[in-house]
Subunit: 694 residues, 2 copies
């Protein structure tokens, strides 16, 4: 289905309500009430065989009885009646249906089958489906509210730059109410429920194209179409439309509840992080964060730096804010001495370094704030300035502070007012594009978010890595030697090793390599080779190598008589270097992800790994390395020689290309250890495992 068809869904010219109720508080009654109350500009057709009229509107026995065309139909009927209703909508030529009814895929096999059937009917008719098991959609610019949520009646909509999409209906309803309570004007709103057809990703893509939508709030539990979600995120990034995402189900218990909730596969949580980070989307973890950050993003000012200026009337709160800013990685940069001197002239007892403490005096002499702010903006080179003025709620006072003149002088300065103020004052300052976040630490968090987005937008597009001369991963699991050869062809170097299939051959290979050597059984059937004595280290001469071959083959037979043994690999003993781990996991939703970590305790005890979506180039690989805590070990910590990080970066990038080009053939790859030698001496895989997809 083309994206455009969502246009008719969000902006229908006519609406029918199947299951329209005469009781305006029932699920089938509320949408009729809302459409009437908010004066939807088009015909509303209640469908109800039992009444000639519903809430003052002429009612129809069937949608097929409606004379004119119907763009959008709502189905608010008992589960058993839904499929027949959809058939009638299809026959009528309806463009989109919204289905409130539950009892489909979320209940088991039978419901899942019925849901597939509704999709088949709709697809044949070229009709879109929202739901089932959803709470509807709304386009507030169009006075179109097809929902049974009570909040839209209790809190009349205020049109604004934010569009919301939520997989969960209840969360969507909560989100609308919270947004309204927090000065967030909403434009488009959708809940997608079971996502028989229209998904969170579809709505995201539509919102990006909607010119008046400036910020997108997105809640999801699982995404079945990772490619579409990523396309939407990429488009949002390109359009500089910030996305604040709440993805729940990160904990095991959460994931379990998510499963029972929408019956979808919860993607691995860390991959979601990786995806959101790649496309510069902001992931929120609490309600306050979701809405605070969404609100902050409406300012449209995303400075690409890291410097925060803080001005307060309370030294104590200033320190609290500084502490928190530093914790969030911001630079509470000191004011230049000249600027400090200027502030001292205005108010001798002020703290001037940053935080600037203008003291309670600024309450008596309101012009102090204006002067100090101008000095901070002009000389402090701050990316965002946060102004803490406690509960100075009087409008009169706020206007006297000269904040309006500051804005005239500095129209694009990013300024957050951490000041409690009433609705009227808020409106004045909102119009001047000051952000108002009364809580001081939450204001600092918003400043950090603005800068993080700015940094993401400012980052230059990195060139795609060159493609492979295409080594293809085999359908069967390759043995260790084959896996390393394949990876080496793909640009991930392996240790110089030989596969011997006879004792004499082992002796010759060992001699060629040079003593001492290591020898290891090669068998895809034997997983833990060292446990059965399948590895020999420091083999000193040719005779020992020949003997070693026989010993290893014998041990394999003893331990696992039916194991297929491909031979014995002979490799040089290497000392020094830093052990790392490279990995690939093909996520069912988002595709191949490349992992990097340092070997040993870093991965095992600390879980100290980082990951990226494949493919990526060497700059990205260098960035990854620097994200792990153990990076100093590669960088020559503890007196060691700096490791060959260029070789490591090249290998990571090439592995990502291999994973990308073989995404449908592999399930996972482990290269462990991948040994990185001192600078100039390269890096190579010592062991490797490629698991083909099933």
């Amino acid at each position: 289905m083309s994206q455009n068809s969502l246009e008719t869904m969000f902006r229908p010219k006519s609406v029918a309500i199947l299951g329209a109720s005469t009781n305006e508080n029932k699920i089938g009654g509320r949408p009729v009430r809302y459409l009437k109350h908010y004066e939807f500009d088009g015909p509303i057709y209640p469908i109800n065989p039992n009444y000639p009229e519903v809430q003052g509107l002429k009612a129809y026995k069937s949608i097929l009885d409606v004379a004119g065309g119907v763009d959008l139909a709502l189905i608010a009927l008992p589960t058993a009646a839904v499929l027949q209703a959809i058939r009638e909508c299809a026959e009528k030529g309806v463009k989109a249906v919204v289905i409130f009814s539950s009892g489909f895929a979320e209940t088991g096999d039978e419901g899942r089958e019925a849901q597939l059937e509704m999709r088949r009917i709709a697809d044949q008719a070229g009709m879109r489906i929202v739901g089932p098991n959803c709470m509807g959609i709304a386009a507030f610019d169009h006075n179109m509210m097809i929902t049974f949520g009570v909040s839209m009646m209790n809190l009349p909509p205020v049109l604004g730059p934010v569009s919301i999409v939520s997989q969960s209906g209840a969360f969507g309803s909560v989100a609308y109410a919270e947004a309204r309570g927090r000065h967030l004007g909403v434009r488009l709103w959708a809940t997608t429920g079971n996502e028989s057809d229209v998904s969170v990703a579809d709505c995201l893509n539509y919102y990006v194209e909607d010119a008046e939508t400036k910020v997108i709030l997105m809640y999801f539990e699982a995404s079945r179409d990772g490619a579409k979600l990523m396309a939407g995120l990429a488009a949002a990034k390109k359009a500089r439309k910030p996305v604040v995402a709440m993805k729940v189900g990160s904990s095991d218990v959460g994931a379990e509840a998510a499963l029972s909730h929408t019956n979808s596969l919860a993607g691995s949580d860390s991959v979601v992080d990786t995806v959101l980070a790649k496309y510069n989307a902001y992931r929120a973890y609490t309600m306050d964060e979701f809405f605070d950050i969404g609100y902050a993003f409406t300012s449209g000012l995303f400075p690409a730096g890291n410097r925060v200026g803080i001005v307060t009337i309370s030294g104590g709160v200033g320190i609290l804010m500084s502490d928190y800013a530093v914790k969030l990685g911001l630079d509470v940069a000191r004011m230049p001495e000249t600027a400090q001197a200027k502030i001292k002239e205005i108010i001798p007892f002020a703290g001037t370094r940053n935080p600037v403490d203008v003291t309670g005096q600024a309450v008596n002499q309101q012009e102090i704030l204006e002067h100090c702010l101008n000095i901070m903006i002009e000389e402090g080179a701050y990316d965002v300035i946060v102004v803490y003025f406690a509960g100075m709620t009087s409008m009169e006072f706020l206007l006297k502070t000269g904040l309006t003149r500051v804005r005239e002088k500095h129209p694009t300065a990013s300024i957050i007012l951490s000041i409690t103020m009433d609705e009227e004052a808020w409106k004045v300052f909102d119009d001047l594009n000051f952000l108002v976040i009364p809580d001081p630490t939450r204001a600092v968090r918003a400043a950090a978010a603005l800068m993080r987005m700015g940094q993401g937008y400012a980052k230059a597009e990195r060139p795609a890595p060159p493609p492979l001369s295409a080594p293809v991963a085999p359908a069967e699991m390759p043995n260790e030697v084959e896996a390393k050869r394949l990876l080496a062809k793909a640009g991930v170097p392996a240790v110089d090793e030989r596969l011997a299939t006879a004792a004499d051959e082992a002796g010759i290979s060992a001699t060629e390599i040079g003593f001492p050597v290591a020898m290891k059984l090669v068998s895809t059937d034997i997983l833990h080779k060292s446990e059965i004595g399948g590895v020999l280290l420091n083999v000193a001469d040719e005779a020992a190598a020949r003997d070693g071959y026989d010993i290893l083959i014998e041990r394999a037979k003893m331990a696992q008589p039916d194991a297929k043994v491909d031979g014995v690999v002979v490799a040089p003993m290497i000392s020094g270097g830093v052990e790392t781990i490279l990995g690939v996991k093909v996520d069912p939703t988002f595709g191949p992800v490349v992992l990097f970590g340092l070997g040993g305790i870093f991965v095992e005890l600390l879980g100290d790994v980082t990951q990226r979506l494949a493919p990526f180039g060497v700059e990205e690989a260098h960035e990854m390395m620097r994200e792990v805590k153990g990076f100093p070990l590669l960088d020559g910590a503890r007196g060691a020689a700096p490791a060959d990080v260029d070789a490591l970066a090249e290998a990571l990038s090439r592995l990502s290309v291999f994973a990308h080009e073989n995404a449908d053939r592999i399930q996972s790859i482990d290269i462990n250890p991948f040994l990185v030698l001192p600078k100039g001496r390269g890096a190579f895989a010592v062991d490797a495992l490629i698991v083909p997809s099933r």
Copy 2:
């Protein structure tokens, strides 16, 4: 001064205001206005030589002109007039003075001297001082408000179980306003400013003794009297009066601002954590956290477990809450099958595992919540249950849910309502001891805090470790061998080593120990011995040991001719074992702290250490070990033999006793490495450094 004298300060029978203003909005006018407005029950004496009357009250030219006694005097005068005013107060026999005036220790040496002088005058007269540079004090149960903060006029006090103390005046004022805006009734309130006399610690101690104070909110930037603060925290813990502490200045920039703000020494931040943890005080980092947790603690219910039950009308929000609970370390434990079945009977489509999703149906059938909650309380064994019902603000609705009956049936169940409700409804549910925290993730955080406090209170008092037969740390820095001997006497075993002062002696010692041996220069003047070749490893026989001695002495002479060399230490070469680091730091405020970490990268790259106040016993030491990320290495991770953790625990405990008993003689101790051998084989110091106090 005795603690009791704060009683007259908070509950004076009469008050004088020096600098009382006829303008009720001036700093010297507001306290007169507040005392009158809130009907302080006692004589109010405005002191102002220029007016016969101030705000309708008879004014006096001098406090000495007042006929009756004066318990409390406020000084709101220019800096230059303060000392004379204090002298007059002393002469008058005033019990306590509150000084708003600034311009003292925070401004430099001259101000510091004046501040010391005011303290001398007060001490001689047995008079307490609050401030200078503070915003005053209040006892709302006594209608006594000596402050110029505007919030106490804008927001009339509501008496409640919370007492607040803040070093920062402005923060104290903000805290009062925030508490009022968040349903937190306040009882006592104090700001301590420069703390010439009365400190945050004094007020803490007083609040603990105040029977009606149930929760203490404490803000501080630095504490100069760690012992008194710890005594207060210990008393609060014993009385089960929870303390929520905000200590700012944790970041470098924050600490810098703190210095300029109150001119006090900011203690090391991690020691503050250690102190607060020891006494089961809760440290908050944001305003929301400070007040949310303070509010939650007013419930007085501190379950000692870890199980949280979640019931919602939105599956999505339930998952969000679960995710967050797991992140905070809570157990979102599954409901028993039988209980799940009972809920399914009531509402077939409910999610029943936990989170329990009663769906929007519970809005139509209000009794559902009552039944589900009863089942969860009776069969789920949850320590705290959080109920998310979104914006169901109607009082009528809330009463219909049967929450009142749930409370009757389960008077001590800890239940948090994450429900937006108006003042009237809040009052009803507050009286029933339900906590109301509308934001769902903040409600979960409060649940976690209640349980953390409960666990702290439930922890059995651990016996104090036995004292030492008192080895005393020397005044001069001991050399490595002396340091280890001293520590060994204190119960921290050292490697079996000999100090040789001649080549022959080195040979004999090495033979006694058994080859191979390690040899190292002993000199307190040479700090980095391996850098000058001052360490020899794997010395194989007696001749080599004799030669080794001469080589080391020669190298010392070459590198640092004037260094005092005490000889060469001969020790066995040891392989295996886990390298750990034991340390002592004597904090100037809080005394000796013992640090523990694993050697190598854990400390260097990861800063993976933990610490405790000295002294402590072996149970505490065992707990410490388990707090570091590298603990599995001691516990036999990666196939190694489990280490002798009992020997390690004993050494840590004995080190803590040594540090405690020598707190005034030492500045720090490093035992690095402290080698822990496999179980049963002990643990010992390989190197040690004791730095005496200056």
